[in-house]
Amino acid sequence: MRARLLSKHEFHRFLEKLKSQGTLVAPVKEDIVRFKEITDVSAITTEGHPLFPLKKYFSPQKRKIFTYENNNIEEVLPEKQYIMFGARLCDINALLRLDKLFLGDISDRYYQRARANNLIIGLHCEIPPNEMCFCESMGLSDSGYDLLFCDAGENFHIKVGSERGNALVQDLPESDFQPEPIKTEKKLHNTEIAAFFENDAWKKEVEKCLSCGACTTLCPTCLCFDVYDDPDVEMNKGARITEWDSCQYEDFTKVAGGHVFRQAREQRFRHRIFHKIQYYKDQFGEFMCTGCGRCIEGCPTKIDFVEILNGMKQ
């Protein structure tokens, strides 16, 4: 399908059209850039990178799996049909990674429903929006979007990724544009990390880790969760909840009787990195990490796993 051209004068009108078809989510500049549900399309920004990723729209931080009243259970499924505008390729790839976990042999119905009707309008990175970006090393695929907007001064070139996307832009003039692959200054050089499992650098570099879980909260592919009940005060009804959890917390691996399998901070930190760079890849053939850099950007003690791995010697 041919790319299309949209004049920036027409941009807001195009966004209005999107908004009329579902719940529009896009980046807005507030104290920081955030993805938000849009009421006023003029608030949308194409600058910068939202600190918090898109995962909350597919499996919210606290989510009711079902409600119960006495012994009757009612499953809770998503109500909104989201249209995402402004997702960068790292965030789009992150959804593709999560799809493999949540739509695999045991599909998660909530996630499945939220993703099924979900429309994704990406925003190409001409230059990386953040100095922590290192997506060039992570083998991102140029897919997963319905449309991809590429800023070209007066106009947007729009790359078409699906029939649904094409239907939105087929009246626009055609363009021959092909986006350049994203180049990042920061790179992860060591991507074969099996030999680094036992390495002194983990302890040394992760000493300042607070086990706060900022990295897992900000990571677009971290979606581990806890399961618990939230009863109504009258105790005859309530909801079973999944809530984002973090492998960085000490009690994450705690079993009955109190034993904790990953007791040391550096073991927990290493586990996350190995999941992102090795375990997931062993299973699905690609990195779970998409190089967005948020876990580095948002770390209160500025631990940089890319530099840690780059510094390790075979």
Partner: protein
């Protein structure tokens, strides 16, 4: 998560020790020995519980009070309801063991899933040759399935030991690995089930190696905090392996290289 719990009635609940109860649900679930259910009580929460029976008409679970959910489960009365989903995980591939001798080594709560294995063996007795049971408990009063174990003595080669005897205990005292070594059971044509606390499995493996057992003759069962049972919540991951789905039963050579197994 995708599987919702169904409501089941507790058809029987029996106290076994000061902290352990046996709960029975008169409903059949197709399962393998070694698999587990997610059992829940509304308002309280959910916990993974291994199956300790093998019967097409009912399931039994031995529950040890170690937290909120299990404390409340053990306070249930006959006729109360629970939420149940599963069975989950990979159990023991009993078919693969046909015509073998079987050695079941259990420590403490680890005896529970092995009781399911024994019930399977009893229903398929001709499929297996000699069956040896090695069970260890901390104290005589912590012994699970006392009556069952008495009946096993008539059918199988049974070895029992406790760490701390009381005045009435006349049997063996000490670690289970010692009994195992002294028994001089043959490693030929034999499959070993090892289920218990990490420390017991660790020493058990050393003893078995000394006795000439290969890694592919030994099956281990791992305990992890499975929150979902569906390879999603991440809690049970052992290196890159989801214990809830790929386990909890593993052949030793499948997990030997995983540093996070203990």
């Amino acid at each position: 998560m995708t599987e919702l719990p169904e409501i089941a009635t507790v058809d029987d609940i029996k106290q076994q020790t000061t902290s352990e109860y046996l709960i029975r649900i008169n409903k059949g679930y197709k399962h393998d020995p070694g698999q587990f259910f997610q059992i829940s009580l509304f308002n309280i929460g959910e916990a993974p519980i291994s199956i300790c029976s093998y019967d097409k008409n009912y399931i039994e679970m031995s529950i040890r009070s170690v937290g909120n959910v299990t404390d409340k489960l053990n306070a249930l009365q006959k006729g109360d309801t629970i939420g149940i989903r599963g069975p989950y995980g990979r159990g023991y591939p009993m078919h693969d063991f046909k015509d073998n001798n079987l050695i079941l080594i259990g420590g403490g709560s680890g005896v529970a899933p092995l009781r399911g294995v024994i019930q399977y063996i009893e229903k398929h007795r001709d499929d297996y040759k000699d069956v040896h049971l090695f069970f260890g408990f901390r104290e005589p009063k912590e012994m699970l399935f006392k009556e069952d174990i008495e009946s096993y003595k008539e059918k199988f080669d049974v070895h029992l030991t406790v760490d701390h005897p009381d005045d009435h205990w006349k049997g063996n005292v000490g670690v289970i690995t010692k009994l195992l070594e002294e028994s001089r059971v043959s490693n030929e044509n034999t499959i070993v089930f090892l289920c218990g606390p990490p420390i017991m499995m660790k020493f058990g493996l050393q003893t078995l190696e000394k006795m000439g057992f290969n890694r592919d003759q030994v099956y281990l069962s791992f305990e992890r905090q499975m929150k979902c049972g569906e390879k999603k919540c991440g809690h049970c991951m052992m290196n890159g392996v989801y214990v809830c789905k790929e386990g909890p039963v593993f052949r030793y050579d499948e997990v030997e290289g995983l540093s996070e197994k203990w």
